[in-house]
Subunit: 413 residues, 2 copies
Amino acid sequence: MLAEIITIGDEILIGQIVDSNSAFIGKELNKIGIDVYQITSIQDDKQHILTALEEAKNRVDIVLITGGLGPTKDDITKHTLCEFFGDTLIQNDDVLLHIETLFAKYINTPVTDINRMQALVPTTATVLMNNFGTAPGMWLEKDDTVFVSMPGVPFEMKNLMKDEVLPRFQEKFNRPFIIHKTVLTYGMGESAIAKKIEQWEDELPSFIKLAYLPNLGRVRLRLSARGTDEKLLKDTIEERITDLHILIGDIIVGYEEDESIEALIGKLLASRGQFLAVAESCTGGKIAQSITTRSGASSFFKGAAVTYATQSKTDILGVHEDLIKKFTVTSAEVAEAMALGVKTRFNSDYSIATTGNAGPSKGDGDVEVGTVFIAIATPNRVFSEKFVFSNLRERTIGKAVNKSFELLLNELN
Amino acid sequence: MLAEIITIGDEILIGQIVDSNSAFIGKELNKIGIDVYQITSIQDDKQHILTALEEAKNRVDIVLITGGLGPTKDDITKHTLCEFFGDTLIQNDDVLLHIETLFAKYINTPVTDINRMQALVPTTATVLMNNFGTAPGMWLEKDDTVFVSMPGVPFEMKNLMKDEVLPRFQEKFNRPFIIHKTVLTYGMGESAIAKKIEQWEDELPSFIKLAYLPNLGRVRLRLSARGTDEKLLKDTIEERITDLHILIGDIIVGYEEDESIEALIGKLLASRGQFLAVAESCTGGKIAQSITTRSGASSFFKGAAVTYATQSKTDILGVHEDLIKKFTVTSAEVAEAMALGVKTRFNSDYSIATTGNAGPSKGDGDVEVGTVFIAIATPNRVFSEKFVFSNLRERTIGKAVNKSFELLLNELN
């Protein structure tokens, strides 16, 4: 069972937006055993859409189209769909009623003709009601290939997928089981790991695939098993991971079944009734933001002080001015004082503190661009480490955030 | 001059990573007048790669390939490139020396055979030296189409693009000028705007295209002009935007030439020597993180207090316990007290404060999921507004961040 995702719209091609929709769709299809064979992003152009639809029809069983719908975009896409399916547009009364209801409830302007035209759909389309927007989803079929067209607004697409599309796929198609397990490692490079586990990798059964996913100082190893016997797949993956532990157990920090290191930390802290607070300078709030992106953070996270200005380190965290003068603001001593300060002031059990120079130019602390001190305070002690990450700002911030979580997880394990 | 981006790797297709590389490449190519006609993401599979290369060759002048390189991935991609170009692999001594130098300088493990094999390249390839990693970029040509292969690690690819690829494109190809100008609006929906500017839109010259880019309560209008006469393009865009102001000047907050509302705020504050501080509850650090992602934030940003726990609002920001008891933690009164507290404690001129319930379930404050109070303190006053954004966590946080910046920008304008 193969799928292709077609995204329509110039905004992806000119790089104005990043295509996060396809990643979401890929992940969700994968969970129910449907493989994405290809993702194709094309221009909002009639001939290009027709060609892409035809090519996809010959490659795959399912085509998911996102984008090209919406009050100001409907025109080309829906007429092109009609041409491809040899169909015409007709008004769908349920959609029209839904549009009018949405406007009455949430929008304080009258319904325009442009909005009403969103109720036009091809006569052979099954309408998939979009509860979060005015552009309906559409399900069409041609020569045994299913085509699903959805608006490109991410939360509208996501809800259509969950409520309408995925349940229909599950009902209509026989699918194999696909099981992923991702091993989180740190502290060793991709090729060094590859060398250490070479024989283990060669001996994996053919139904298990291994992928190396390096990112900002972490390598994740993803095992994917596919087949009809779910228990066999699960058991084999567990077996092989046990063997993997013998080889590189020292660099494995945990597993990810849709989980991040932040989530692992949260689980450990919450289960012990302990709390974390964070003091951020060069990471500028990214640690706090990474923690609070997921719901449930209040069960283990007290908060953070983003002390970007030097004076704020004193005013908010109580770091002594003399200490800053003596050691400079980017130092192990200041990082540790920040960690202790934020732990006391937020009344937490653990804390993380970062201070450094993410660049692009040297700060008043005189340290090299990319230098970051990370301090961790636990109920018993405080310590810090110095890192020189990169001369690229974004990369230094990203690596500092990841490394902070690793250092903390080490203390919790 | 048309380009296609081919990304190789299962991790994009199964949604484990979002393809941000293509957005970067699209943006950079667009700046120098090269159009991305299509983005194609394919599996790490020999036949699939061969088909995609052949199809792309027939569609475009330039093919940019990312991914499929790296110590554990080289094998399939490089051999497939050789098959496609009728070539064989040969060791490149410069690359080998570079790999050995990188290992000696940054990596504390010996160079392995897997690493050494990264120095193998097709004999007809021009090597593009990757200063930030071990996998080299490669430039190949076939039947008047240029193929550039780069590793998928974002910062390695970005530097290869800037240092090696873009300069070569600029030298090799004649390109038209492409000028974009994006108008930032708020407070009006896509279709309402479309109706208001319908006639203006119809009268745009054929060399100017208009795109509507709606996102979390903001609609951006992107004008793109293309042609050989740069001055004509710029003048015409300015002219049409002047006309646009007459129609919807009340909802235009600024312009974006690669700029965000955060950058606009930063510019205004820095030019006046004024500073901002932020108190975040439900937005969890995302406002601070949005501000500090760009360099130069220290010229206008003092810092932030992420007071996630109720007690922290009292301990860190000095919000009175009685006030919280009387009005609940999610209230206009508490938001305003947070804004005043953070302004005083961080010694800033302006401040933003957020408190709300992003969901997914009702907090102890008893307000509906999606309710957020945003307070703004200026040198002269403090005020707040109540919003009910969404029952989706991510969306509520995103909208609260955007709305906070809008409210602040209004005060600065």
